[in-house]
């Protein structure tokens, strides 16, 4: 029974938050609602017994990704209202509803739902984190390493794309050169 209450509560909250995200005209509200929605989704993961996943969701998504978005918002100066020319509301909502209905039909069809077999069954006794660890470093090792490389690439890409004065390297310049540069900069200000 508790599970049902938790499910419906969090479901309601998540849906509300996300609806705010997509409909509000204030960018700050959208960001905050998105962050809240992420947290509530992690609640779902905990209900489902995927503890590790839930924690990862909070740390990575809510912590890192939302922080990135916040910084991005500061950069683009979108704290004010965003003026948007609206498309046809009915097409948009209609299409989405149709997509939703179709997916439910597909997923709820007995033909598809009957044929799922467990490939990597849960081992009883061990906690969720341990189980994930065991699977991650054995069966999913290669995707794990590749994901690591990909994150590295993304990080370097992010720095390169967003950095200023990338052709200068402060660690390789001598102290006198750094002083010269500072004086030139200050001259301009004056």
């Amino acid at each position: 029974m508790f599970e049902a209450i938790a499910f419906y509560l969090f479901a309601f909250l998540t849906i509300t938050m996300f609806v705010i995200t997509v409909t509000t005209s204030q960018a700050l509200y959208a960001l905050s609602a998105l962050a809240a929605g992420m947290i509530f989704i992690s609640a779902f993961f905990f209900i489902l017994g995927a503890d590790f996943l839930g924690v990862v969701q909070i740390i990575v998504y809510t912590g890192a990704v939302m922080a990135l978005y916040a910084f991005g918002m500061m950069f683009f100066d979108t704290t004010r209202e965003v003026k948007e020319k609206q498309g046809n509301k009915f097409i948009i909502t209609g299409l989405s509803a149709l997509a939703a209905v179709l997916v439910v039909v597909i997923v709820a069809a007995p033909m598809f739902a009957d044929n799922i077999r467990a490939l990597y069954p849960v081992i009883e006794g061990a906690g969720n984190t341990q189980t994930i660890g065991m699977v991650l470093f054995t069966k999913y090792l290669v995707p794990f390493e590749l994901a690591a490389v990909m994150l590295l690439v993304a990080m370097v890409a992010g720095i390169v794309l967003a950095g200023k004065k990338m052709d200068l390297s402060l660690t390789l310049m001598s102290a006198t050169e750094i002083d010269e540069m500072n004086q030139n900069m200050n001259k301009k200000v004056l």
Partner: protein, 101 residues
Amino acid sequence: MEIGLNHYLVLSTILFAIGLVGVMRRKNLLLLFFATEILLNAVNIAFAAISHYYGDLTGQMFAFFIIAIAASEVAVGLGLLIVWYKRYGSIDLDQISTMKG
């Protein structure tokens, strides 16, 4: 009332639909990225639910990797957005349709 797999899947679908609405509606590129995040999270819920109800860890692993990928995607995406903003000064979709076919 017993919460079954179908409940979670319906929820996931509803969130996915909301994400679709956001994708189609938003004209500001940054807010478009928010809607993309919603899509990814909806799918994560579905994976975790299936993993739980069938006793298979594959769903959770998939969700895990999706989180990793989403993070890197945000990094690169924002980087590109910054470059675009510096070049064109606007991130409104209606004003950046230069590839008219």
